[in-house]
C-alpha cells in the first residue's frame, strides 16, 4: 500500500542525502519526493511517497527517526489527511484539440497557463490519482512534457506536524 511520509528535518546541506541514502541502502522505494523550507528557517519539510507492507513502513519510519537530522516523522496515511500534488503538462494543441483541452481542463479544474499557436500548458492541482486520471484522458503522443511536484500533505483537523 502507498504511504505518504512527511517529516521535518534540520535545514542542513547533507540532510536530504541522508534520507535518500537510507532508502537506497535499505532497498525501500521512493515514488515521489519533495522538499522545501518552512516558516522556520532552521527546518525544512520533506514529504515522500513510498509503498510497502505495514511492517515495512513501520521499519522505514523507525529508521527515519534514527537519522540525526530528522526532527519529526509522520505517516500521513495513518489518519485523515489532505494531500495535493501540482502538475504542469504541456500538450500539442492544434485544430479541434484546442477546444477539447479547454473542456477537459474545466472538468478537472485545471488552468491553461501558457499558450502558443501549437501548444497549451495546463496547470492542475489535486490528489495524485486525479492527475493520473487527467493524463489517462489524453492521447500519449500529444503529451510533450509533464512535470509533477510530488505529493505534499497535512493532517486534517487541529493535529499538525511541528517542533
Amino acid at each position: 500500500m502507498k504511504h505518504i511520509i512527511s517529516m521535518l528535518m534540520e535545514n542542513e546541506s547533507g540532510a536530504l542525502s541522508r534520507v535518500a541514502g537510507l532508502f537506497s541502502a535499505r532497498g525501500y522505494n521512493i515514488h515521489a519526493l519533495t522538499v522545501a523550507p518552512t516558516e522556520d528557517d532552521s527546518l525544512s519539510r520533506l514529504t515522500l511517497v513510498t509503498s510497502g507492507t505495514s511492517a515495512q513502513i513501520e521499519q522505514v519510519v523507525k529508521h527515519l527517526n534514527r537519522l540525526v537530522d530528522v526532527v519529526k516523522v509522520l505517516d500521513l496515511t495513518e489518519g485523515e489527511h489532505i494531500e495535493r500534488e501540482l502538475m504542469l503538462i504541456k500538450l500539442s494543441a492544434t485544430g479541434d484539440m484546442r477546444e477539447e483541452y479547454k473542456r477537459l481542463a474545466d472538468i478537472f479544474r485545471g488552468d491553461i497557463v501558457d499558450v502558443t499557436s501549437t501548444t497549451y500548458t495546463i496547470q492542475m492541482v489535486g490528489k495524485s490519482q486525479k492527475l493520473d486520471a487527467f493524463i489517462d484522458t489524453i492521447d500519449p503522443v500529444l503529451i510533450l512534457e509533464t512535470v509533477r511536484s510530488g505529493t505534499v500533505g497535512v493532517m486534517r483537523g487541529e493535529k499538525s506536524l511541528h517542533v
Binding site: 547533507g14 529508521h63 540525526v68
Partner: protein, 567 residues
C-alpha cells in the same frame, strides 16, 4: 581563550578526557599535528602504520573500556583507508569519534589534491557525520560528536575539518551542554511493558534468555547475571555478547548460531519464550527465518527501536537501555508473588541436559598435528582464562569463541558484524594500551594477520607486549571449509602460498618469534610464552595446525537451528 581550530581540537579532546588518539599525519591535518606538538599535555598520540589500523586500535580500546575511541587521519587516502575500520565499528555499534582532515573550504568541490567527499563516503557507515564549515562551530560540533557516539545505540561519528578551519581563530570554552532537538535517546523502558514481560516470563514452560552485544555495550552484565539466576532459566549468548554472563556458570548453554553449541541452538528452537536482550536476531543467529523457533513468543529488549521486529516479529517490545530495563525486571521479581512453573522448568532442564550431553564441542585429538581447538584450550589454561582476547576473522575466530570461555564482559573483542580480517592485531594494541598490565592476545590466522602485519612496528615503538597466537593452517581456512562443504572441494584460491617465516618476521621487527609444531610441547611452549619472561615483549606464536580441520557444529545456510551438522 583565542586559539586556532587545531588548538581548539586538541584542548577539547583533553577537556573531554580523551587519553589516546590513534592516527597518521598528512597534508590536510598538519595544523592539528602541530597543535599536538605545542598544546597537548596529557593527550597521547599513537602513530600507527596504516589508517585502518588506527581505527581498529581505537575500536579495541573502546570495546575493552566502554569509552569512545578517537582517531585522527588526513584527507583523501587517509580517510578512505579509515573506511573499513569505521564500517567495522558501525556494524558492532562501537562508540568512536574519527577526525578527518579536509582540503581548505575554498577548494572543496574542485577535485583538489587529496580531496574526497569524506562525509559522502562515510554517510552509510556512521551514526552521524559533520563537515565543519565555521571555526566558531568547532567545539560545539565536537561535543555533539562525542555525545552521539556514546549515547543511545553507540556508533562511530566522523568530524571532517577543512584545513583553513584548523588555522582560523576563535575563542574556546569547553561546551558543558549539548542541545540537539532531533536526537533524544531513550533513557527508560516502558514500565507497563516490563511488567507484562515479567509476567510472561514467569508463566513460560520452556523459556530461554538470549543475550547479545547490547548487554556488553550497555554494561548490563551484573543485572543480566542477577536476572538469570533469579529466574533459573537457561541462557545463550551471541558471538558479540560472550562474557556478559559467565560461561562457566551452569545456566550458560554457550554461544548460539551458525557455529553455536547443540544445546544452545536446540534450546532456542524448542523454547516457548525467547527473552532477547541487546541482541538483534542476526541471520548468523537465526538461520532460516521460516524455520526459526516455531513455538516461541518473543520479548525483545533493545535501545534501538529499529532493531525490534526487523527480522522477526516480537510479542513484547521494550525500547530502553538494557541495564535500566533489567534492573527494573529484577526489582519486580523481588516483589512479585507470582512464581515460575518449577515443574515445567525442571522438565525443560532435563531435556536441555540431554542435549548438552552430546558434548558437541568434543574433537578428535589423535594424529601428529596440533588441533586448533587444542591450541585455543591450551592458551586458555596458560592465561587462566583471564586474558583479553582480540580475534581476526575465520575459523580461528570461531575456535576462540568456542574454546576460550569468557567469564567477564569486554574480554572478547571481535568483528562480528562486518567480519573484518585484519582487525585482530590493531584491536589487541588498543586493548593493551587501555590495560597495560593485562594480557592482551590476538588470535589470528596466517591469512588475517597479513592484512595488518605492519602494526608489529607500532607495537615495538610503543612497547605493546601483545601475544599473537597464529593458528597457521596454510589455508584461508573458513573459505576452504565452505569450499569443502558446498563447492565439491574445489579449493579455489584458498591455499595460502609463499608464506613468510613468521618467526623471523617477528624477529626482524624486534619482537620474539616462537614456532609450535608438536602437540606434545604445545602446553609447555605456551606456558613459557605467557610467563614473566616475556611479560614486556611482543611474542608472535606461529602454531602449525591441522590443515583439514573444520569448525563444528555448524548450521548450513538455509537450515533451521534444529538442523545442525555435529561432526
Amino acid at each position: 581563550m583565542e586559539m586556532t581550530g587545531a588548538q581548539i581540537l586538541v584542548h577539547y579532546l583533553e577537556d573531554e578526557g580523551v587519553e589516546h588518539i590513534w592516527g597518521y599525519p598528512g597534508g590536510a591535518v598538519l595544523p592539528i599535528y602541530d597543535a599536538l606538538d605545542t598544546d597537548a599535555d596529557k593527550l597521547n598520540h599513537i602513530l600507527v602504520r596504516h589508517e585502518q589500523a588506527a581505527v581498529h586500535a581505537a575500536d579495541g580500546y573502546a570495546r575493552s573500556t566502554g569509552k569512545p575511541g578517537v582517531v585522527l587521519v588526513t584527507s583523501g587516502p587517509g580517510a578512505t583507508n579509515a573506511v573499513t575500520g569505521i564500517a567495522t565499528a558501525y556494524m558492532d555499534s562501537i562508540p568512536m569519534v574519527c577526525i578527518t582532515g579536509q582540503v581548505p573550504t575554498a577548494m572543496i568541490g574542485l577535485d583538489a589534491f587529496q580531496e574526497i567527499d569524506t562525509v559522502g563516503i562515510t554517510r552509510p557507515i556512521v551514526k552521524h557525520n559533520f563537515l565543519v564549515k565555521d571555526v566558531n562551530d568547532l567545539a560545539d560540533t565536537l561535543k555533539k560528536a562525542f555525545y552521539l557516539a556514546t549515547t543511545g545505540r553507540p556508533g562511530p561519528v566522523v568530524v571532517d575539518i577543512p584545513k583553513d578551519i584548523q588555522t582560523a581563530k576563535s575563542s574556546y570554552v569547553y561546551p558543558q551542554e549539548v542541545d540537539m532537538r532531533s536526537y533524544l535517546p531513550v533513557t527508560k523502558g516502558h514500565s507497563g511493558q516490563i511488567k507484562k514481560a515479567v509476567e510472561m516470563m514467569l508463566s513460560a514452560k520452556r523459556p530461554i534468555l538470549y543475550s547479545g552485544g547490547g548487554s556488553v555495550l550497555g554494561d548490563a552484565s551484573a543485572e543480566l547475571t542477577k536476572l538469570t539466576h533469579k529466574l533459573g532459566f537457561p541462557i545463550v549468548q551471541t558471538l558479540m555478547g560472550l562474557g556478559a554472563f559467565p560461561a562457566s556458570d551452569k545456566q550458560s548453554l554457550g554461544m548460539l548460531g551458525m557455529h553455536g553449541t547443540y544445546e544452545a541452538n536446540l534450546s532456542m528452537h524448542h523454547s516457548d519464550l525467547i527473552i532477547a536482550i541487546g541482541a538483534r536476531f542476526d541471520d548468523r543467529v537465526t538461520g532460516n527465518l521460516e524455520k526459526f523457533c516455531p513455538d516461541a513468543k518473543i520479548i525483545h529488549v533493545d535501545i534501538d527501536p529499529a532493531s525490534i521486529s526487523k527480522n522477526v516479529i516480537v510479542d513484547i517490545p521494550i525500547v530502553g537501555p538494557v541495564k535500566q530495563v533489567l534492573t527494573e525486571m529484577n526489582a519486580i521479581l523481588d516483589e512479585t508473588t507470582l512464581k515460575s512453573d518449577k515443574e515445567a522448568l525442571a522438565d525443560w532442564w532435563s531435556q536441555i541436559e540431554e542435549w548438552r550431553a552430546t558434548n558437541c564441542l568434543r574433537y578428535d585429538t589423535i594424529g601428529s598435528k596440533i588441533k586448533p581447538q587444542a591450541a585455543v584450550e591450551s592458551v586458555w589454561r596458560a592465561t587462566n582464562g583471564d586474558a583479553y582476547v582480540s580475534s581476526d576473522v575465520g575459523q580461528h575466530q570461531m575456535y576462540a569463541a568456542q574454546y576460550y570461555p569468557f567469564d567477564k564482559p569486554r574480554r572478547w573483542i571481535n568483528s562480528g558484524g562486518l567480519g573484518t580480517m585484519g582487525f585482530g592485531l590493531p584491536a589487541a594494541m588498543g586493548v593493551q594500551m587501555a590495560h597495560p598490565e593485562a594480557t592482551s592476545i590476538c588470535i589470528t590466522g596466517e591469512g588475517s594477520i597479513q592484512m595488518n602485519i605492519q602494526e608489529l612496528s607500532t607495537c615495538l615503538q610503543y612497547g605493546l607486549p601483545v601475544k599473537i597466537i597464529c593458528l597457521n593452517n596454510g589455508f584461508l581456512g573458513m573459505v576452504r571449509q565452505w569450499q569443502e562443504f558446498f563447492y565439491e572441494r574445489r579449493y579455489s584460491m584458498s591455499y595460502m602460498d609463499s608464506l613468510p617465516d613468521f618467526v623471523k618476521l617477528a624477529e626482524s621487527y624486534g619482537h620474539v618469534g616462537v614456532r609450535i609444531e608438536d602437540p606434545k610441547t604445545l602446553d609447555a611452549q605456551l606456558e613459557e610464552v605467557f610467563s614473566d619472561k616475556y611479560k614486556d615483549r611482543l611474542v608472535f606464536v606461529d602454531i602449525l595446525t591441522d590443515q583439514q580441520e573444520n569448525v563444528y557444529p555448524m548450521i548450513p545456510a538455509g537450515a533451521g537451528l534444529n538442523e545442525m551438522i555435529l561432526v
